[in-house]
Symmetry: none
């Protein structure tokens, strides 16, 4: 990370606890990054303040999510940073990688186009590739402005998750997310659909209002 000018490391339930003497020994002088590391119990908390989240994965998934290369992600994150929006990349555990629920919390899947017959990288290598493209992106390429002026600030992950939970609570009450064994997939697909739209803070408030309006009168009458 520090090779590429990155210093904001967040860990969710690190396997070997924290602080980790082994990590410190392997850090080759990048102690400052480790000392500033923040710990979280859940991924949702770790990404709560981010407005643009990528899930780094080597596996193809059947989820309806945009897939970007490290270079494209770097370009988008540069543009977000220039607009004052925090962006981040979620990496999975060394052996298992990210699970589908983690991927479903992300705006896009970040996949490095590597040798298709040998595409899995270890965690350190994956972080380096993403960091390298980010760092390289500082100078040569002009960030593309994806957002039109006046569209408003993109919602944070915390705001999105709060809307998702509101929607899912009401859908549970209405008996929509059944049978139970299909619920996780249905929830992921719905979340993904809204994430693809990259809603603004204002739009997330509107969506809350839509769910309340559609389900609210129901409760009042029940």
């Amino acid at each position: 990370m520090l090779n590429c000018g990155l210093a904001d490391l967040r860990l969710v339930q690190p396997r070997d606890g924290w602080p980790s003497p082994a990590a410190l020994a392997a850090a080759s002088g990048a102690d400052a990054v480790l000392e500033a590391t923040r710990l979280y119990e859940r991924l949702e908390e770790a990404i709560a303040d981010l407005r643009l989240v990528y899930a780094a994965t080597a596996r193809r998934r059947d989820m309806n999510q945009r897939v970007v290369t490290p270079r494209e992600a770097a370009r988008e994150m540069r543009a977000a940073a220039a607009a004052g929006e925090r962006a981040g990349v979620v990496f999975g555990p060394e052996r298992t990688g990210l699970d589908n629920d983690a991927v479903a919390l992300s705006d896009a899947v970040l996949m490095a186009p590597l040798n298709p017959r040998f595409s899995s990288l270890n965690l350190a290598q994956a972080v380096l590739l993403v960091g390298w493209e980010w760092y390289r992106g500082a100078a040569p390429e002009v960030p593309r402005q994806r957002r039109r002026p006046g569209r408003g600030q993109r919602a944070t992950s915390a705001e999105l998750v709060s809307f998702f939970e509101h929607l899912e609570e009401q859908l549970d009450a209405a008996g929509f997310l059944l049978p139970m064994e299909k619920r996780p997939t249905m929830v992921r697909n719905l979340r993904n659909l809204f994430l693809r739209a990259a809603p603004t803070e204002h739009e997330v408030r509107t969506l809350h209002g839509v769910v309340t309006a559609l389900s609210g009168r129901r409760k009042g009458e029940g």
Copy 2:
């Protein structure tokens, strides 16, 4: 190396001997590369058949040598390969890096422009960066595939409009799209939000179901 389609590994006096059980254990299935590895007593022999040689180093040197980035080196090596000329990159031992004699045998110094205050990479990371730029250089920008096969067909405008009208009808019934003079703007903003997600036919059917579920029980009870 194999992540990046590279398989020609040459070792000069490997510190731990060869073959190395530790290397095999760390290779995660890239055994073919290790099995084809060639051993040499001297660097001069290892690079004897190459016509273009880079010395990878993180340190600035006072030698009058051309310095290229991994991306530039990748471009030059691609051109050499296209002309039938073998090219290679020399990496130094993990701790000490390349000595000046090794650098002097090279056509150019390959240096990755990293954080100047923390620029040293470990050997595996350095190899990955060079390999990545080499592999990426094969197809400058892999055609972007924003939508994976199997995601299903994008909904038609008619299908989208049918969903919009269903949603708006229910929101009207719930008194959400008020005051009337603001209704056109609210409708446009909501439609725009869903349009940005570019839903598939299947997703539009799910959205219909969500609106029916949230508002349906309400009607049943009313």
